[in-house]
């Protein structure tokens, strides 16, 4: 049985610079886990799982109509500047996340709270739906029941920040964050490294298990891996590049170095339902049947599992009995002929230009070609693909790889609204299939109002049916669920799932060095 070594410091690398550690703004997978460790929230997940537990909140109560949540705060929790966390900080932090001036991307998550529209529309300064009867009690009033609300309070945007520091630092708060999480930021050398140190006063026992960690940025993944093999680096944050994967996987240290596990991710092709001839459901079904997903997973060296529905297997509501569209070229051709395209047609497939996405796009292209569909590849920078996807009638098909990141929280609703619901099918939206099914939208709302935890399973089932029913219209080709593969040094200990935590990627609070 392993025991964590005391006083350890580890090194983590990333290629990209860390944009910001402001919890109201940070929204990429690198800073996501760091923000998690710097700040605390009312709710949290048990490390390595998707199980919600109260965190900064000691306890909470939900009214039976699901429209009011009352939280009792833990006493004596201090920000790293020494001040105690009180209820008004919670109110301030959420309001700040919603306030347009903050330019935060997460405002929409709080849409259920009363007063949201006024604040985000600039008509009010605060959220009337948050009340603080005393320093240790917070009450949220919702305008509609929201089954995901507890998850919402666990996402980064709901992190608690000290008002006086935020106001003093202004926009620089993201570089000089002050929170009440497991770690504090000691030093940030821009473009080089961030040094995190254990928060000795953290309210969770035995957490964190290391004294600190240093994030080195600007590190090419290939080089990071080399350094990891030599013991200079403990966690290669960007994972193992394709060119090295097999070498490592088949190498002698594989078991010690590689952590490989599922994540809440689905790689898909969005088929634009508003572009001819893709507006014909038969055509979309034919395309679904044309894709040889087995071969595509081979191209990513088996680091993925073929998918047949939008939800990844770990997500509640995943239907493991659903068969989806099997790979069947003859049937696909027949469907195309039925739709009036016996000789296929020409279209375009957009993809991110970072490896391996152009390769996957080319594999898809070859599969489409087999049924006569000539898809021109447009491998562009992410920003350009996103722009094309959000412009009506622009991109016929988009391969999502490189732009679809992990779910914000482990709930099926997070996989619907913006990317498959009517609300996302707007200019600048992320519903690249431009799929809008009012009926399904209604069912989604229905599912999300089942906020009673007792109805959890019922809700999951309802959600699952939304996704499987949607596949009849085939707005997506679910291609695979990519597993996350992290490389860690041999000295790192702990179960694999704290390195591929479904809600935080790397769980810095939980990782440790073996004695």
């Amino acid at each position: 049985e392993e025991t964590p070594a005391k006083g350890a410091n580890i090194v983590v690398t990333y290629k990209d610079d860390i944009a910001t550690l402001d919890p109201a703004i940070g929204y990429d997978w690198q800073n996501w886990s760091m923000i998690k460790s710097l700040f605390s929230r009312l709710m949290e997940y048990t490390p390595g799982t998707a199980d919600l537990v109260p965190s900064l909140a000691e306890s909470f109560e939900i009214t039976s109509d699901g429209l009011a949540y009352t939280f009792k705060l833990r006493k004596g929790v201090k920000f790293s500047n020494g001040r105690e966390v009180v209820a008004s900080d919670v109110k301030y932090s959420i309001e700040r996340a919603v306030n347009p001036k903050t330019q935060g991307p997460g405002a929409g998550f709080f849409g259920a709270i009363v007063g949201f529209d006024d604040l985000s529309g600039g008509k009010a300064e605060g959220l009337s739906g948050i009340e603080t009867p005393d320093d240790h009690t917070v009450v949220f009033k919702l305008g509609r029941p929201d089954a995901t609300f507890l998850h919402v309070l666990a996402i980064n945007f709901a992190s608690i920040v000290p008002k006086e520091v935020v106001e003093a630092e202004g926009q620089d708060f993201g570089k000089k964050p002050v929170g009440s999480g497991a770690f504090v930021l000691k030093d940030w050398v821009i473009g080089q490294k961030l040094v995190f140190e254990k928060n000795p006063n953290f309210y969770v026992a035995d957490t964190p298990k290391i004294d600190g960690f240093t994030v080195e940025v600007g590190q090419e993944p290939l080089v990071a891996l080399l350094r990891l093999q030599q013991g200079e680096v403990d966690i290669a944050g960007d994972g193992i590049p394709p060119s090295k994967f097999l070498e490592i996987k088949n190498g002698p240290d594989a078991a010690d170095i590689i952590v490989d596990g599922e994540q809440l991710q689905t790689g898909y092709v969005a088929i634009n339902t508003r572009v001819k001839p893709l507006d014909d459901v038969k055509v979309r079904q034919a395309l679904n049947m044309a894709v040889n997903k087995e071969r595509i997973t081979r191209i990513v060296n088996g680091r993925a599992t073929p998918a047949n529905q939008p939800l990844p297997p770990l997500m509640p509501g995943y239907d493991k009995d659903f068969k989806g569209y099997a790979y069947d070229i003859d049937k696909a051709k027949a469907l195309l002929a039925e739709a009036g395209y016996p000789d296929g047609f020409e279209t375009a497939l957009y993809a991110s230009s970072t490896d391996p996405n152009p390769r996957i796009a080319q594999a898809l292209q070859q599969d489409f070609a087999a049924i006569g569909v000539k898809a021109e590849i447009k491998a562009l920078a992410n920003a350009n693909v996103i722009a094309a996807g959000g412009t009506e009638g622009e991109a016929p098909m988009i391969w999502s790889g490189g732009m679809a990141w992990i779910a914000d929280f482990p709930d099926p609703s997070n996989f619907y609204g913006p990317i498959l619901g009517c609300a996302g099918a707007v200019q600048g939206g992320w519903n690249w299939a431009w799929y809008c099914n009012k009926d399904l939208d209604a069912r989604a709302i229905e599912a999300d109002s089942m906020s009673d935890p007792a109805r959890k399973d019922e809700r999951a089932k309802l959600w699952g049916s939304v996704f499987t029913d949607l596949m009849a219209d085939a707005p997506w080709i679910p291609v695979f669920n990519e597993r996350r593969v992290v490389a860690k040094s041999k000295r790192m200990g702990g179960p694999g799932n704290i390195y591929i935590d479904p809600t935080r990627v790397i769980n810095y609070d939980a990782v440790y060095v073996k004695q």
């Binding site: 060119s243 090295k244 088949n250 081979r298 990513v300 490896d355 390769r359 590849i377 562009l380 350009n384």
Partner: protein, 282 residues
Amino acid sequence: MRIVHEFLRRPTAVFGLAVVLLVLIGALAAPLVAPYAPDEQLFDGLTLEGAPIGPNGAFLLGTDTLGRDLLTRLLFGARTSLIIGVVANGTAVAIGLGVGMLAGYLRGPAGNALMRFTDLMMAFPALLLAIVLAALFHPSLWIVAMVIAMVNWVQVARIVYTETRGLVERDFILAERSLGAGHGRIVFRHILPHLMPTAIVWGTLGIATTVLLEATLSFLGVGVQPPEPSWGNIIFESQSFFTSAPWLVVFPGIAILLTALSFNLVGDALRDILDPTQRGRM
């Protein structure tokens, strides 16, 4: 006739020409000589784990990370790369020659304005310009070629400008003016031929760099689009594989180097032959 004769007497030049012709023929006859289709992802082109296969009997130069035959892709890629390296780079040299020559010859306000414009273009980050231009005019081979030309002419213009300034001071240009020669005649008949050595050097040295620049653009998503192969993007796509699948970098690298070198050998020979003062010398 004399040029042909002189040319054939130089072994290095003949070697260069042979390689250039070989590449050209390879490019043109790619569909006939290539063993496979250029974007055919062969089932047996990848190991079961999805790794590319090294050179062997079936795939003379190995396969790439999608299981395509590398030799085939190099042959087809020659088309793209020749267009980029020769046409795009050639256009850049031509523009540079034109602007530099005009600015150097005109002097005065017009020449100054031209040179300030060149300075401005020089101060402008080339890659950014390339990215934006390519993003605006959806990337296609010819667009990419023109974008590269737009970016690369500046340095040529600078050098040509300086050289032209020197030429204009020379007696034979003065003599030409004293004969009443018009500007066009002086520029095209008398200055231009003297700039050919510079043009040839840039034209050949720039081939390799432009071919690689195209690859950088592809990587940014503004280059030639997959699956269309180019030597540059073959390297770029798989450069991180160079320890696990070195053939993916080495062969296209050799192709670029050899082609650029051969053009250079041909260019050097032509420069010597076309320069009458060099005739008969070693």
